[in-house]
Symmetry: C2
Subunit: 329 residues, 2 copies
Amino acid sequence: MRHGWQIVAPLAAALGWTTPAMADDPLRSWNDSEAKAAIVSFVEKVVSEDSPTFVPETERIATFDNDGTLWSEQPFYFQLAFALDRVKALSNEHPEWKEREPFASVLKGDIKAVLAGGEHALLELVMATHAGTTTDDFSRTVTEWIASAQHPKTGKRYTAMVYQPMLELLAYLRANGFKTYIVSGGGIEFMRPWAEQVYGVPPEQVVGSSIKTKFEMREGKPALVRLPEINFIDDKEGKPVGINQHIGRKPIAAFGNSDGDLQMLQWTCSGDRTAFCLYVHHTDSDREWAYDRKSSIGRLDKGLDEAAAKGWTVVDMKNDWKRVFPDGP
Amino acid sequence: MRHGWQIVAPLAAALGWTTPAMADDPLRSWNDSEAKAAIVSFVEKVVSEDSPTFVPETERIATFDNDGTLWSEQPFYFQLAFALDRVKALSNEHPEWKEREPFASVLKGDIKAVLAGGEHALLELVMATHAGTTTDDFSRTVTEWIASAQHPKTGKRYTAMVYQPMLELLAYLRANGFKTYIVSGGGIEFMRPWAEQVYGVPPEQVVGSSIKTKFEMREGKPALVRLPEINFIDDKEGKPVGINQHIGRKPIAAFGNSDGDLQMLQWTCSGDRTAFCLYVHHTDSDREWAYDRKSSIGRLDKGLDEAAAKGWTVVDMKNDWKRVFPDGP
């Protein structure tokens, strides 16, 4: 499957044309970089039936991290923004929160103090805002929030802060017979209500962290109730475990942006099969953010070293992407 | 979607003909019973675009129990037969098993004594035979076993003891845009290696009980190692929980045969949506087995009552099925 645009594009560019073939480029927001060439070359290797490395459609599994890989994750994970907004929305029902950390700091708008509370404080926030409801109610709450909440810096809807080049990559892989999965440290039930509309990834192809749920009868009707107890953390070593639980096959392509994705990439790109691993490197402080080895959110340190050692593809956001966001310049 | 055979079949039957239209009946091993009519009527209601109860393809989720619903489960669950065979195969590496229950009874072939040990004995057998290997090794072991092991009573391969009418039902639903899932109390990694070939259900559409796995480096290569610790029991209240974890949508059709499936059926058929719930009732002591309210394996007691109360479809194996097994008369 050699695409017309690949042959025509260099000539057209030299002549200053835009041809219909170029408009048809499925990866049109990607500059003609090594990263783009590596993606296209991999896909052709596995979909061409006469290729020695052909992979049947049923085995074309691609897994994508979400935070920092498909949408932004600064100045803090968007799911934390949801939790903070929920604390405010629920504060009337919890007068005791005014005196109790980390809730008191949330209500004062002192995010620094909240983050200083570390993992324990975040866990308390998540449990207070993610548990206690039925799965149906939680889904509705997330749907309402995602449709209205605004990012503190850009003022955009969070779903407007998804990466246009990655949306194109998802669609390109699907057009080539891949099944695309999200495999995220974020909450599985936080992503499912909007992942299909935004990414084209249906609920059954979302893997994530979860709290326990319990089946019970409520007013004679069966319901699943969300409990304040961790069920599974889909991060680091948890990612291959989560993939095995949900998918039961090793992916042939994996996409991440941080050390939290390293084990998923190691697992995908080990062995003798043809497989593809890619890191998105945040290098664009003008259009998005620039961070890597020393960031507290989305740290990419060991991953950068391993990518260099193993020859994985590293996307330089600043130089490899024409646009970052769908509505960007 | 009214099928030709539905219109032609009664006339042809009256005349003693077999027409090409009848040969095309997707449910050809089903007698023209209430159960068959209910299945076809439900499918037509949700797939006809001009039907007020039309359901888009993405939401056409159907979940099937495995033991007793898609294949036999007598005189004991087939996965237990696997565990018993593994004990024998591994006994040279475990000389201590000769003296230790439940292993000693297994090695003497005294299955009654093994079963008398109850849940604790079974758990020990499962852990000793299902844990300690990598996921890849376990998958190979299951694949070899399923290709060679024979049922103690019929002498058949276990995969020859799947129900032909249910295979037709799976294919019929898929031909109508349904995504078919297995949701079983059996081990997820025990079913995945052969479910695609036997049922047409790929690994990512198998939900089951599981033990924990751990990601680790073995000789520099990443591996998932199976640990002797329960992760999830996909039975009774666990079935709706497992469905929510893996699929993230409520099914619109659910198929079971025992009280272990009751909560899955309750959950599927609650609410105002058009949904379909079916119990396979084992009534055929000649061609298969007959058991229900008092059986220790696959007990169907509360389920029978609830099916009557709610108007769910109950398949009478003896009278509703022309054939039970693919190679049957």
